[in-house]
Subunit: 148 residues, 2 copies
Amino acid sequence: MNKKELAPLIIGKLLNIGGMLQKKGNKLLLPFNLNQQQFSILFSIEQKKKVNQKNMINKLVLEKAHVSKVVKKLYNMGLIDIETSSEDKRSSWLSITKKGQDTLEKCKEYIEKWNEEWVSEIDKDQLYVLLDSLTNLQNIFKNQIENK
Amino acid sequence: MNKKELAPLIIGKLLNIGGMLQKKGNKLLLPFNLNQQQFSILFSIEQKKKVNQKNMINKLVLEKAHVSKVVKKLYNMGLIDIETSSEDKRSSWLSITKKGQDTLEKCKEYIEKWNEEWVSEIDKDQLYVLLDSLTNLQNIFKNQIENK
DNA sequence: ATTAATTAGTTTCCTTGTCAACTAATTAAT
DNA sequence: ATTAATTAGTTGACAAGGAAACTAATTAAT
């Protein structure tokens, strides 16, 4: 097989796997009233201590309108705080609350439990190789998509 | 790094890449009034000559309500034919029309053009390795998800 | 200094995708 | 044979996600 034939197979599988993971994530997080995307935004707010919406849009390749809505939802659920920035009044700093922390911890437990299941079927070396290829792909796609 | 740490990194990247590809696909297919999912359903109808909705739900891991609506859309666009099955009157055979064929061909051209771009940045061996790992992952996830 | 351009985030409108309840056909159980 | 259970697909209600137009603040250009 040449590259031209390999490409669509890989794209197909990536799309398929991505879809399955998204659905699985949604199901896992259902008890917390969050879906996979909302979780990833919450997670990303926890990671860096001070974030605004723009940071996350860049990092997670999300639509700004979408982020805006999720941020509002997380705030209404009491999971994050919103503090208007003094440097730039257009944007505000997002930070995770105690309740948000707790929720996140519980979510992570659920996710870890599932990870242990599937990861047990693959050996460590293959995981490393896979992580490498995915990082590579991720960068390539990110560049391609950003440049137009 | 142990497996426990590798797992979430891999999942994160797969979700991120999946999201980027879906968006890219939607953008590429915009001129044809199709999105990535609708394309994949149309594509899947072309592949096997006779399919019903159930076949596709299994193969593509999609919601049956969703498939039902997409099928209706494709039919309204004149891209597929629907012929009630004589063996089982609940279901019908889906087949691609001439117009559907043509559309599909054009879509594929666009997609191929894009594939050539990104694929040029990776060497063939890595593509093979990646395809292998992805196939492996795909099967693992598919089983995990199907068994509850 | 004033105007123009850019940027962060919001709102509105619309399409997509999901869930649950439903219909009608088929199969299994007694 | 009749009833019960299962199955293929549809429908309606609703949440999620995206595009575009918009507001208000900031920065650049003259």
